[in-house]
Amino acid sequence: MIAMKLTAIKTLSRYRSYLFPVSILVLLLWGAAVVSRVDPAVLAAGIPRGIDLLGHMLPPDWAAFPQLMAPALKTLQIAFVGTVFGILAAFVVSLFAAANINPNRAVRETMRGLLSAQRALPDLIILLFFVAIVGLGPFPGVMALAVSSVGMLGKLFADAIEEVDPRPMEALVAVGATKGQIIRYAVLPQVMPSLIANSLYRFDTNIRMSIFLGAVGAGGIGFDLVVSIRLLDYQTAFSAIIVVLILVLACEKLSDVLRTRLFGQEVLR
């Protein structure tokens, strides 16, 4: 008995240094559970509800599939246009933010600061802001995606531009080329693969975001999904879920394929 107590005390004292942080953690977790209204009873009641829900969702509403094509397309279009706008804006900003292209430090730091500030802004706020300006619909969705992409893309582009080998640039300076010519002939060829890779990756992210934005009012398949659930039309909802999954998986596959095609062959210049 005493031996057991001794080993217990020894073990406990070994962890003494962990006592404080662990108890804080436990306290925080408990607090969070309270605020989040964690309730095992609700969870328990939820399980039969969940099974019931699944029963209602199957089989999916096959007739709904053709009708869901249009919203799915819309979601893609929103993501596409938003990403393109974002890429254009990010590219322009990145030229001003790159040290080897813009010697003016004040402008550079301002640009980098703006990009950083944008990255700090939660995307929801950007979307709600645009909705408040122009109302619901695809346009605020497109603008929200564009703006939310600029921060990340702008930084990645600017970093890529700064990492370019400076010597070809110098060779062109020595020839008497203008800045624009140097960018076009010495910088862009070097930086193009990175630009495209990052853009494709962002497009992927934006498709998922576009689905979400649809739920918040931009239209598209996200919207249809939310509506069908609110109307308790679970079979249609399941069809919408299937469409979303196909969309996401197809786009992932597509960007994988595009990436290997473009970079595997070094077609890009």
Binding site: L28, L29, G31, A32, A33, V34, V35, S36, R37, V38, D39, V42, L43, G46, I47, R49, G50, L53, L73, K74, Q77, I78, F80, V81, V84, A120, L121, P122, D123, L124, I125, L128, V131, A132, I133, V134, G137, P138, F139, V142, R208, I211, F212, A215, V216, G222, L225, V226, I229, A237, I241, V244, L245, V248, L249, E252, E266
Partner: protein, 276 residues
């Protein structure tokens, strides 16, 4: 690397292609696609043009921000809700991801079948947009932060599970081997050889996911998850722009603070491990 010949007077293969020729087909395709999308979405310069006066009127209605909105306890509480959702959700997600990763790591898994199943689970979760998860959860457990918290927990499994599994697979095998050779059980090996090596990376990834989840929690509020996202959306929908600005500012401050703390913790913990 051969390029297509372009028309020239002589009959030799020609070398130089102007950019618009090289990119003619992909370029035109892209342009057509783009313009088609613009038309389909009804986007035109006019939308931009008409938006500008709306922008100014919005700004004028937003200022000054109505800080009184926080005297209504509900709004203040919803800030706690997002933080709690993100915190608890990430914690539970991390826990579950850890155990899942143990099953998915090549050097630790009990069987290849289990490994495939675990990896498949993680990939499946990554594929499913969190929107779907939250919408279904709301039906099952009702509106509010509980659903949001579970959605975030589930939503963390794919990313954290993969990162954890990779960290475990990249562990230095020598300490494991030496422990196994002394007859330690699998659990002991994990506790004493694997865990210490992966702990910094685990914690760093968890903190990173927390940042992501906090922002996600804002979105979840709008679709039924509770939290300040909901309040913000509500204020905007009711055109109470001064309220909305106050809520926005508070949200920005909270998110920024949380990310700063997360950064600090990450640096402290990684720093400690490095020193050790």
């Amino acid at each position: 690397m051969n390029k297509h010949p372009k028309k020239q007077k002589q009959n030799e293969e020609v070398h130089y292609q102007r950019w618009y020729r090289r990119w003619f087909w992909p370029g035109s395709f892209f342009m057509l696609l783009f313009v088609w999308c613009l038309f389909a979405l009804n986007i035109s310069p006019r939308q931009f043009w008409e938006g500008i006066p709306h922008f100014f009127s919005l700004v004028s209605e937003m200022f000054p921000p109505n800080w009184a909105v926080f005297t209504r306890g509900k709004v203040l509480w919803s800030i706690l809700e997002v933080l709690s959702m993100a915190f608890l959700g990430t914690f539970l997600g991390t826990l579950f991801s850890f155990f899942l990763a143990l099953l998915a790591a090549g050097n630790l898994t009990p069987s290849p079948l289990v490994r495939t199943a675990a990896k498949w689970l993680m990939a499946a979760e990554r594929a499913v947009p969190t929107l779907i998860i939250i919408l279904l959860l709301v039906v099952v457990v009702g509106l509010g932060p509980f659903a949001g918290m579970i959605a975030l927990a589930i939503g963390s499994v794919g990313m954290l599970g993969k990162l954890f599994a990779e960290a475990m697979e990249n562990v230095d095998p020598k300490p494991l081997e030496s422990l196994v050779s002394t007859g330690a059980s699998k659990l002991q090996v994990i506790r004493y050889a694997v865990l210490p090596q992966v702990a910094p990376s685990l914690i760093a990834n968890t903190l990173y996911k927390f940042d992501i989840n906090l922002r996600a929690a804002l979105f979840l509020g709008v679709v039924g998850g509770g939290g300040i996202g909901f309040e913000l959306h509500l204020a905007m929908s009711l055109f109470r722009y001064a309220d909305a600005l106050a809520i926005t500012v508070m949200t920005l401050v909270v998110v920024w603070l949380a990310e700063k703390i997360s950064d600090y913790l990450r640096r402290r913990i990684i720093g400690q491990e490095v020193l050790q």
